[in-house]
Each structure stands twice: as structure tokens, then as C-alpha cells.
């Protein structure tokens, strides 16, 4: 049963990948706002993703039925989201890999806002952000990054084909 389910989705994924056509009114973009809060020694992260795509990728990767919706959310939704974030979202500060703590989420319109925190962060000069959420679903997924530190914001884009963005703060 599970095997069949998995195969179906793998098939779906394969066909989408590598084709040039696109859906006239659907675009694959997420936005991530990161802020270094020196006063709290933490990096506060809010990632906004489309809920339907996010639900689909969780089903696809973990071969489990999951519903992401404020009215009828699956019990294990947060557990799967956390697992997915740990797999696809990586941050290094001055070359040191950081631990991302997924705190929870909020639903807004057709999007989900994911709240993620990195704790005990001392001052740093370089941040390498690699947010590959949903790029395993859509080749043309674009993840926009805005990193605010000391009143300045640096922006970048993570793509499947350009997975790491190095942001320098001086």
C-alpha cells in the first residue's frame, strides 16, 4: 500500500522535473526573513511557503498522509515539518554549521509561516544560507532570502542549481 503510494508520487515528481511547460498562474517562490538579534543572541527566522506545495512535498518525501490546514491539521504535521526543515535548510556562520530550532508555524492566506530560531549566536561576519525547501518538488522553485543584521539587510536567492548564498557583513 505504502509502496504504491510512494511510486505514484515519485512518478509525479519525475514528470514534472525537466519539462519546460509551466502552470499559467502558479509560481514557485518562498520568502525567508532572517534577523540577527544581538540583544537576544539569536537569529530569528520566518519562512513563508505556499501551504499546498508544502503539504505535497511532505506527503511525497515521507509517504504519509498529512493535512496542513488550520481547520483539520494532522497531529504529526509539526514533526514532519521539522524533519523536512532539518533536511533542506542549512545555515553556517563563519563556517560553523548551526542548529535550527523549529518553533512552530502560522497559517496566513494560502501560505504557512514557519518560525525557526538559532540560539546562542555571538557576533559573526559571514553567513552561508542554503534554503532548498521545495526545490526537490519543483526545479524552478526560488527561495528568496533577506538577512538583517545591525540595521542592514542583505538579500539573496537560493535555487536548486545555485544552492548556497554567502552573505558578508562588515
Amino acid at each position: 500500500m505504502i509502496l504504491k503510494f510512494l511510486l505514484k508520487y515519485v512518478f509525479f515528481l519525475l514528470i514534472i522535473a525537466g519539462l519546460f511547460g509551466f502552470n499559467a498562474h502558479k509560481f514557485y517562490v518562498s520568502v525567508t526573513n532572517l534577523e540577527y538579534r544581538e540583544d537576544l543572541k539569536s537569529i530569528q527566522i520566518i519562512t513563508k511557503v505556499f501551504a499546498d506545495d508544502f503539504e505535497d512535498i511532505l506527503k511525497l518525501r515521507y509517504a504519509e498522509e498529512v493535512i496542513l490546514s488550520p481547520e483539520s491539521e494532522s497531529n504529526h504535521a509539526d514533526e514532519l515539518i521539522d524533519r523536512y526543515i532539518q533536511a533542506k535548510f542549512k545555515i553556517e556562520l563563519d563556517g560553523v554549521k548551526q542548529e535550527l530550532n523549529y518553533l512552530g508555524k502560522k497559517y496566513k492566506h494560502d501560505q504557512i509561516h514557519l518560525f525557526i530560531e538559532i540560539a546562542d549566536v555571538e557576533q559573526f561576519k559571514k553567513a552561508q544560507v542554503s534554503n532548498l525547501l521545495l526545490t526537490d518538488m519543483f526545479d524552478d522553485q526560488k527561495n528568496l532570502i533577506h538577512f538583517k543584521k545591525d540595521g542592514k539587510t542583505k538579500s539573496a536567492v537560493n535555487l536548486k542549481s545555485d544552492a548556497k548564498a554567502l552573505l558578508k557583513f562588515n
Binding site: 514528470i15 514534472i16 519546460f20 499559467a24 499546498d52 488550520p70 526560488k142
Partner: protein, 770 residues
Amino acid sequence: MNKLSILLSSFILLFTVQVNFAQEEKDDTQQGKMNENKFRQMYDLLATPNSFRTAAGAPGHEYYQNTADYEMDIVLDDKTQRIQGKASVTYTNHSPNVLEYLWMQLDQNIREKESIAKEKDGKGYDPLMMPDNFVETYLGEEFDGGFNITSVTKNGSPLPHKINWTMMRVDMAEPLQPGESYTFEIEWNYLVNNHVTNRARSGYEHFDKDGNNAYVIAQFFPRMAVYNDVEGWQNYQFWGNGEWALPFGDYEVNITVPADHIMEATGELTNRKKVFTKEMMNRYKEAQSSFDEPVMIVTQEEAEKAEKGFAEETKTWQWKAEMVRDFAFATSRKFIYDAMNVKVGDREVMAISLYPKEGNPLWEEWSTKAVASTLETYSNYTFDYPYHKAISVHAKNQGMEYPMICWNYGRPDAQGNYSDRVKFGMISVIIHEVGHNYFPMIVNSDERQWGWMDEGLNTFMQYLAEQEFGEKYPEAIKGYDKYPSRRGEPSQIVDYMKGDQNYISPIMSNPENVYQLGNNAYGKPATALNILRETIMGPDLFDYAFKTYAQRWMFKHPTPDDFFRTMEDASAVDLDWFWRGWFYSTDYVDIGIKGVKTYIPTNTPTKEAKELLAQYGITDPENYPGTADAVYVLEIGGEEFDESMLSDNPLENAPKLNEFILDNFSETERRNMEIPKYFYEIVFEKPGGLVMPIIVEYTYEDGTSEKVTYPAQVWRLNDKEVSKTLATSKRIVEINLDPDLETADVDLSNNAWPTEENQSEFDKFKESKD
């Protein structure tokens, strides 16, 4: 403000301007420059007006457009998913020019095996690949969906033609003279793609469970390209993003499908009695007099029964459409069909929905109502819907528009459950796609060149239509205070506009050359128009101008210039700065408060004033006749300020001003006069490149507040910084910029005085969790 405070404010202003001027003189020698003023008129960007298109933005007295009429016979083979077609095309040259050749569009060729569109993007190797993916990518058999053009003839003789990928040149024996028509015949066939697995704007969905296909078919025939005064032949190849440029014309189309199919298409069904059952005819008549609730013409029960049929015989549906720019149809034996009538002005229009049972229970409830509501809203803002029907067809995963008919997503799960997200997603996409009937199906802009002209205007209108839908059907938005629109509100475009400039293009870009088509062609132009309507022009002026544009260009081919010019021409609002900033650049809005100074009036000349006056040779201003009675302003907390100067009587330090008031105002006037105690100078800065009005909310010590808007023109002499003065009798305790988030300001941290540490969204979330 009363007279006196105006008097004082203007003094402070004059004073400030002069001081700034004096500082400028200290600068070293500077280089000259071209006109870089953000308010300069757009002569450098707009086309020179002519007799085809006027400077007012209207069609000129020699405006022309060519037409293309089609008579077609189409046969769909459901077993092989192949379409066979033959057409007689009549092209009429209304231009003053002789045409040596004609160009047709072969859009399906983007799906041919060797299509170069597959190589349009750069791509690296994925670090790992699933074995199946590897096989698919490197060893697989590719889908071959291009057109096979089997014959192009004129009166039975072969006509020379040249196919250049998605374009075909037809070489006539003699050039086509102005005013003449040319009729020729084409035969072709192609393999229809599965639009679910092979993302596309046309195709079929296969239902494994019952073995049926649901077809939503478009771009299925070679279509004439547009020839006009701005592009010549618009034969820019179809690379996948930029949609279409199509001439208007009349269509007669016979479509043959399995006999048990239910079909809808662009145009009037001329053999309804032959293809509808008696029962369907009766219900259709009933629907024509139902204005509140849709009438089921094919019920779910009937559709489920038909699903099992797989008829071997066929039926031909005959369609006739006038003044349309394209033709599309949907056909399947799975379709449920409902309809109701809607009144638009003095016209009656049928609102129709087709959906497989998989769309229920959602589609039967909202689709047709969403169609009807959209026609009402859009007609109010533009023109009465001129066609006799509008159809929403359910297709998985896609939203796509054609004249009178469109495909829309939104499907419950296998158990028939759906979330609010699915419901609103579906209603929104229906509103959007039905709305496309106005832009670009009737106001027929060139989509190949300008994606935003239809998508941006339509997404803007979609927002208004969604909000009205919520008001008309409160039960549809239960649990929300208004319809949850995804695009249109200024705050929703901020994340895009503040982004990495390497990945942002101006709105005025070809759809192939943008990084984020959704934000570029839909979100940003829709938001810009919303801001224009709500904040810059006001709904009255905007709506009149927008309607003028729609009516001027109804059934014609407008360009961006025609839109920009009409919006100004019909409103007397100079918008060149707005178009230049929002549409031609990637600048963003960021306006902040740099500082606030408080002054009191005094008759004692300040050091600054003395220095200034000295430059004019006035060394003893207190005794100089012209300045003896002058009022000066002294900064509270400044060098010359002394705490003792603060008093309840604001005129204590300015006895001469006091005397002036006594001499020039009557007792009654003085009693009603509120003498200001506080004189503020607020310095606004503009780190963002976009020019916008400064919207300020001043909050006073007694808790009252006042909202003031300084026009965008305040930035015309200094694009970085501007000061404003305010004389008040109450102390200002708080100043907030753009308090209602109307301008898409990307950085709100400089919008308040005194600077306050607002709890961030993140902090609030974390607190709610603890």
C-alpha cells in the same frame, strides 16, 4: 491651522530653505548632468504619438486592425488523444500597407521533440538522481506534441510556406493589398498532451479510476499573428512565458467527439437541439430564468452514469463566435453542467460551470456564483460584458483563460473534504480567469510582449471583485471579516520589492526575461494600481480614467503607452513619476523620519539668523527697519536655548509678535485664535528610490491624532531629504509614517518618532508559544 500658525510656519520654512541654500554654496566645483529629476516627463520613454495612437492615449483617426476569420472542422480521437483539424482562414488587411506574406503561430511546436524551449534555462547536474529520473532524463522516449502541418493550400493548390519553430510564414502569390482579404486552407494534426503530468495551458487529465479523460483544449489550431503599427508582424517566438497576441475575428467551428461527451466552447452553440437531450434543453431554459441559484443541466448522477459508457459513435457540436480573439473548448463524458443567468447592465449573460465529480462538493456550490459575481464587478468598472456567456471549467492544477471559457483548479480530497485554502484558491482563480475576458480577451493587449498589461490589470481588478464577492456571499467567507485576497494589498509586495536586485526586473520587461513572473507581471503591477487608486489618485478619479481606458480599447489592441497616457488624460493627474518609478525601474519605497526639532518663537535674533542677515548687510537686525519686528525661532534644547524661556504664554519671548496680534486682530478674533505653543520641524528622509506621498499621523498629548498627506511632489527638488514644519497648541507625542501601510514601504523601522522598539512578528509568535 489658523492664520497665525500659517504665518509662523511659513516663516520657519523660508528660514530653513535659505539656510540650506547658504550651505550649498560651500560645495566644491561640480560636474553637470542630464535631467535626472524623477518628475521629468516621459518623452524619453513613450513612443511619439501619431495618427494611429494619440497623445491622449486613445486610438487615432487612422487606427486600424486586421481581422482573421476561421471556419474549422475538428475531430478528437479520445482513444489516441489526437486532434485532426482543417481550417479555412480569411485574413483581411485593414492596414494602409501592402503585406508580402502572412505569419501564423504554431504554439504546439513548443512541445515538439527537438523544441529548443527545453534548453532555454541553464542547469547544473543534480548531486544525486533517482534511477527512474536518470532514465527519464537521459534514456527516455520524449513526448512529441508538435503540429504536423499536412497541407497548406489556396483553392486546392499547395501554398509555399516556411515553418520557423513556433511561427509559420505563408507566402502568397501576390502581395495582399490594403483593404483586401486572403483566404487559404490548412490541415493538421497533433498529439494532445496530459496537462497534469506535463504542465501546460491545454491538454487532458486522465482519471485512472474510471479510465476517462477530461479535455481542456486550446492553441489547437494554427492561429494568425497580429500585424499592427507598433510591432509590424508580432512573430516573437513562443518560449513558454509570454502568452499571445491575436487578432479579432469570427469563428465557425464544428467539433466531433464521442457521442456521450458534454462540451462547452467559445461561441454560440448553433445545433443545441441536436446535441442536448430533451431533458437538458428544458433545464437549460429553466437556467435562463434563474438569477440566484444555478440550475443543474447535467447532474452528478447522470455524469457518473455517462462515465461508464465509452461511446463508439460520435457527435458534432457546431459553434459560432463573433469578434473573439481566440477559440477554446472543453469536452468529456465526465462533465457535470450547471448554469444560471446574470444581469449585466441591460444584458443577460449565462454563467456556466463544467466539472467532473472530483470537483464536488465544492464546485456545485461556488463556481457558477463566482462567475456571475465576477461579471457584475468587472462590468461596473469597465464595460458591460459583451458576450452571451462565461464558462468556468474544472481542470486539475491549472488556471487559464480564453474568450468566454476558462480552466480553473481547486479540488477536494478523495473523501470530498476541502480546506478554506482550497475553497478560496478556487474562487480566486475563477474570478481571475473569468476576469481575463476583459483583459486581454476584449481589451486585447499584446501578451507576448507585455505580460503585465493583462495579468497586472486583471489581478488588480481581481482584488476588487474578490472583496465584492465576499460582501455578496457572507456565507462564503464565514470566519473572516473580509475576503482573504492574496494579492493587491501593498504590504504583500514588500518581500519582493526589497529583495536582491540581481533577481528583480522592471515591470516593463518581456515575460521571458524576468526572474519572478508571478511578482513581476501579476503582484507588483496589481499592487501599484491599487496604490494609485487608493492613495495617489483616489477612487473617483482612478475609476473614471480606468473605465475610459477599458472603453477606448475595447475590441482593440492597446500598448502600455496608451494605458499610461489615458490614465493621465482622463484625470488631470500627472503620473509620469509614478509610471517611471513603479513600471520602468526596480526601485522600492522607503521613507523615514530622520529627526524632529521643536522651536519657540522669539523676538531676539538667533545666531543663525544673525549670520544669514549679515550676508545681506544687516548687522543690527533689532534696529534695522525691515527686520525690527521680525519673529525668529529658537530650537528647544539648542545652544541658545534656556529652560526659563519655556512658559505657558508662547508669546512671552516675542513681545513684538504679541503687539502685532493686538494691532491686527479684533478682540473676537483673538478669543477664537489658538496661539500655537509648539513649533516642530520634521525632517523626512528617503533611502528608497521611489517617490511617494508622505503620509504622516501626528498624535498629540491629549490622545487625539491628525493624518496629513504631503504630495509626492514634495520630493521634486530634493530626492533624499525634506523638512516640514508644524505649529500646534498641543504637544506632539508620536509621529508615525504610513500608519495604514498604504505605500509598500519596505522598512518600517524608520517610520516612527520617537523611535520605538516594536515587538517583532517573531517575538510575538514566541511569546504566544511560551
